[in-house]
Amino acid sequence: MLISSNAQTELALADISQGIRSYEVWGMLGWQDIKQRYRRSVLGPFWLTLSTGAMVIVLGFVYASIFRMPLQQYLPFLAIGLVLWTLISSVITEGCMVFISAEAMIKQMRLPLTTHACRALWRNIIILGHNFIIILIVLVVFDVVPSVLMLLFLVAALLILVLNALWVSLSLGLICSRYRDIPPIVGSLLQVSFFLTPILWHPSLLPGRQRVVDLNPLHHFFQVTRGPLLGELPSATSWAVVVATTLLGFLCTFILFKKYRRRIAYWV
């Protein structure tokens, strides 16, 4: 182990690559978190599946009639949107806390800081796995069967989502360990984005105001993931926005991480 104050680029790169590769550690810690959260409940993480499922059914019936959309069209759209939103919003809220909540560990032993971000990410992927059951049920009930090509697109989209979750957790975690008033700000912004992004409402319901939707990067993330499951090929624009966001996000995160990574141990 060589830590030199004038080798920040190498140290930042090593942190990210070693952090991702230490799956033994973040895999175990992520599971531990899930077990801890649901230890004394019978259903465990399926509680979350159940509550998301209830929300899908209730909101589905109400909003389908408000928007005058047929149930077999609206419910799959809503189910996928809500499950994805659960993932995205908890990645962002928990991203703020990745380093703060790992304070004891950061102050006591040298682990790549990326490990802590991977831990939170893994935890949310496990929860996504449980929630995916809702999507499967809805798709089966309404007889929506995505083709193999669509499934390939879905896998690619999920991969992109995970990559974005990683840079978001790293940069938010870093900023929030320095400025402690950021998490509430992020919380309010999330609430606004929930209503601004087509999750409850279909983008076609906003004629003439298409810009509001097109300029929202979150919308494109929903498009590339939700589209294939509903049998719609996402537009090239959506893919371009998503890929560009990923690259730009990692670039900015790396610059931030390179400059401030070593201060995180002092900040938390």
């Binding site: 550690v25 077990k35 006591q108 040298r110």
Partner: protein
């Protein structure tokens, strides 16, 4: 061969007040030319200034100094937890810091689960954890309690488990920040034996302590830090004598 080498290490730790922690306040400061809120809310402490040090195999170093002299910071730098603001640190060998015995302990999890969590944190793959589990089980004499959640343990049982897990694996480099378990007399004797064994199996040990007795017992060298600088480094007796006359 384990070694620790510090070259001209400076560590500056920023300490923030509540206002320094707030983005809103920082923003107001920036936009008002700092006229309204003059307190930056930030103090920088020079925790270490220009520390150079070479430790090699067989070194048992006692770390002495006043409270706030930089002992813990120095240990954290050796552990790779704090990175130097200036200078470089090279550490060869596997380091185990023993600062907080309860690290990673989850009271809802069983004793066995806790052993496994700590072992994974120490970098022992799952299929090689058997020896440690047996060793901890034998040492703690907890028996079937290891299958129960740690929250059902008494204080003494918890300590025994935390201590046994922390001291179960001999690293190349052992860093200790004055921690010694308390417990019943029977346990204390066993604990001392275990610490002796642990220390004898490690290449380098650094122990920060205020107890002369402890340092004389374990260490062959003493490092005296004062105000973030190395005041003296040498044989146990001479530095301790210097230190106690300097203090008095």
């Amino acid at each position: 061969m384990p070694s620790i080498s510090l070259r001209d290490v400076f560590v500056q730790i920023p300490i923030y007040s509540a206002t320094g922690r707030s983005l809103k306040r920082q923003f107001i400061r920036a936009t008002t030319g700092a006229k309204v809120v003059s307190d930056a809310g930030r103090i920088v402490v020079n925790a270490l200034s220009g520390v150079s040090l070479e430790l090699g195999h067989g070194d048992r170093v006692g770390l002495v100094g006043h409270n706030g002299a930089g002992k813990t910071t120095l240990l954290r730098v050796m552990a790779g937890v704090y990175e130097p603001t200036l200078g470089s640190v090279a550490v060869d060998g596997r380091v185990t810091p023993l600062f907080d015995m309860g690290l990673g302990m989850d009271t809802e999890a069983t004793g066995y689960e806790n052993i496994s969590v700590r072992a994974t944190l120490l970098g022992i793959p799952r299929n090689q954890q058997g020896a440690l589990v047996e060793d901890v089980a034998a040492f703690t004499e907890l028996g079937d309690y290891l299958n129960m959640p740690v929250r059902t343990y008494s204080q003494g049982m918890y300590l025994r488990l935390a201590f046994a897990i922390s001291t179960g694996v001999a690293p190349d480099i052992l860093l200790m920040d004055e921690f010694f378990a308390v417990g019943d007399a029977h346990f204390l004797v066993k604990a001392q034996k275990r610490i002796d064994q642990l220390v004898s199996r490690t290449g380098i040990m650094v122990l920060a302590s205020h107890s002369d007795q402890l340092i004389r017992r374990f260490c062959n060298k003493v490092l005296w830090v004062n105000a973030g600088e190395v005041k003296a480094f040498g044989g146990t007796d001479e530095v301790l004598r210097e230190y106690s006359s300097g203090v008095a």
